[in-house]
């Protein structure tokens, strides 16, 4: 049994490593996380230090990516922005994964009325287009970082719930579950120790893909002025602030957008790569 599962892991790893795009995605994500963690240490300037005399400068040795309309160092703000982006999206996706996967697992495991009730609640969340639901939540709770996390988190719940439920349903009738039940393992124990590990792979794939969506949604809300408020160096908000100077200083708009694009792309590459490695049948 032990040998079997480790050889499965080896196969998955081999499949994954062979996919160059996915490896590039993984490397970029590691770089992104490292940047986010060490941003305060590597940022050359205080990201919020205003210097009107140095406003809207192009790239130079002192300011590698130039300065913004208030003379703040763009590179420092981009680096700190990585931290804010990571905190918001990781918190939102973790919230969705925790609530969604639990709901889907319980629904799929117990079936019947429990299943019907939980999945109807999920349907309620899906009755509105996702981004509009997120905007509605912000409208109710007010603008700000915490509420963006809640909005993006809540709107991602249905995806996780449906995947967890579908995987649980196909796992439920396996022999080892019947065996665990026969030797008297409790329902909670079966779900936690036997079902959960088996539904993890599709959930991991979805987590990566959902991180990509969460980054786009959160930065979109910030761009609209509904997210972290100034002077927070959030990428979407930076882009929005640079719009008025777009013709004279296009980098102010181009750079935060490129940062969002690269990180989103990396999570999409990783998610696609994981899916192909975990389920070679799907690969074409």
């Amino acid at each position: 049994m032990m040998e079997n599962s480790s050889s499965h892991f080896a196969t998955v790893r081999r499949q994954f490593v062979r996919n160059r795009a996915a490896v590039v995605g993984l490397v970029l994500i590691v770089a992104f996380i490292a940047t986010a963690l060490f941003a305060p240490l590597i940022a050359p300037y205080d990201p919020n230090a205003i210097a009107p005399a140095k406003s809207l400068q192009g790239p130079s040795a002192a300011h590698l990516l130039g300065t913004d309309q208030l003379g703040r160092d763009v590179l420092s703000r981009i680096l700190l922005g990585a931290q804010i982006t990571l905190v918001i999206t990781l918190a939102a996706v973790s919230l969705a994964l925790l609530l969604g996967a639990t709901a889907g697992l319980v629904a799929g495991f117990y079936g019947g009325a429990v299943d019907t009730f939980i999945m109807r609640c999920v349907d309620v969340l899906m009755s509105m287009p996702g981004f509009l639901l997120a905007i509605g939540i912000i409208a109710a709770l007010g603008v700000g970082t915490t509420n963006v996390i809640l909005a993006v988190g809540i709107y991602s719940i249905p995806t996780f719930a449906r995947i967890a439920r579908a995987s649980t349903l196909s796992t439920r009738s396996e022999e080892y579950i019947t065996a665990a039940r026969a030797i008297g393992v409790s329902n909670g124990g079966i779900m936690l120790r036997h079902v959960l590990p088996n539904i993890m792979p599709p959930l991991m794939v979805q987590t990566s893909l959902r991180m990509a969506t969460a980054i786009l949604t959160a930065s979109g809300l910030s761009f609209l002025g509904l997210g972290p408020q100034p002077p927070t160096p959030e990428w979407g908000a930076m882009l929005s602030g640079g719009r008025d100077y777009m013709t004279s200083a296009p980098l102010l708009v181009a750079i935060p957008g490129l940062a969002i694009l690269v990180v989103t792309l990396s999570f999409n590459l990783l998610g696609d790569g994981l899916r192909d490695a975990l389920d070679p049948k799907l690969k074409r």
Partner: protein, 306 residues
């Protein structure tokens, strides 16, 4: 088919009710007392009480919901707190700009996405296939607001081909439609490709080929028609995305549509307008998915007898 349509129509009713509860709930979850909000921050207590009585805010919540829903069904969405105009008038004035944008983007996404997806599938693993799939991956990863601004920089500021914003003319629609449609185009292309690849392995395709049909006929009439079924479902989902994305696109291109109205009314805490706009946008989402279900039933007769 008729019974199927009626059943789908009936299914849309509870969905709309749920949407209305969410939208109604927004005003009541919002921090702060709605009556104080309506009266203004520095209103006297007796004014707040008067507003409470006038709008029925002293009634239990379910009564308030009932009254609100009855009003909505009669086309009365309340009055804007900012402009004091009827919300219905405000939203209907903004609707054409949004409808135009959503439909144009959907057209771009469906036509370009399907054509490109078929090309990619019929030339699997070719340079063209790889190129298309890389562009598609970029398409789903690009932030819509950034793409919009980059297109403005290139085509409006540098080349002067298109205006930077506004609404009403065809030229003003091109850049916003391309911006908003980009991600859906990519998703539909990927979906069409994988669905086509699935279908071409089926026995009936081998049969069609072995009876000597031309490759073009096999691709279009036999493969594509069947490959379209999952693509149609995606179109419904994408329409929801387009309505949400319209909020951002309209802000980028300064289009006077529902999305911009929604954002500005959230910022000014104009709740009746927020509710009205969300109701209308969510309602059109339900309606389009109803249409998608009907098309689905037409394409795949098995669905009708489920």
């Amino acid at each position: 088919m008729f019974r199927y349509i009626v059943r789908r129509l009936l299914y849309a009713v509870p969905v709309m009710l749920v949407v209305s509860i969410i939208v109604f709930g927004i005003l009541h979850i919002a921090p702060g007392d709605p009556a104080t909000m309506l009266a203004g921050e520095d209103a006297r207590p007796e004014d707040v009480a008067a507003i409470k009585a006038k709008y029925g805010l002293d009634q239990p919540l379910y009564v308030q919901y009932g009254v609100w829903l009855a009003d909505v069904l009669h086309g009365d969405l309340g009055k804007s707190l900012v402009t004091r105009r009827a919300v219905l008038a405000e939203v209907t004035a903004r609707m054409p700009a949004t409808a135009e944008l959503a439909i144009a983007s959907l057209l771009v996404a469906v036509t370009v996405g399907m054509i490109v997806g078929v090309i990619s599938a019929t030339r699997q693993y070719s340079l063209m296939d790889h190129g298309i799939m890389i562009v598609a991956l970029l398409g789903v990863s690009v932030p819509v607001f950034w793409l919009g601004l980059m297109l403005i920089l290139l085509f409006s500021v540098e080349l002067h081909w298109f205006p930077t914003g506004g609404a009403g003319t065809f030229m003003q629609l091109v850049l916003p439609a391309l911006t908003l449609g980009a991600s859906s185009t990519a998703i539909i292309a990927r979906m069409t490709r994988s669905s086509m690849l699935e279908v071409v392995r089926q026995d009936y395709i081998r049969t069609a080929r072995s009876k000597g049909l031309k490759e073009r006929v096999v691709t279009i009439r036999h493969a594509l028609k069947n490959a379209l079924i999952p693509v149609v479902t995606v179109v419904g989902i994408e329409f929801g995305y387009l309505l949400g994305g319209a909020v951002i696109t309209e802000t980028v291109f300064a289009r006077p549509g529902l999305g911009r109205l929604l954002v500005s009314s959230i910022t000014s805490r104009d709740f009746p307008v927020v509710q009205g706009t969300l109701m209308l946008l969510a309602g059109s989402f339900v309606l389009v998915n109803l249409l998608v279900d009907i098309v689905y039933g037409y394409l795949d007769p098995r669905i009708r007898y489920e």
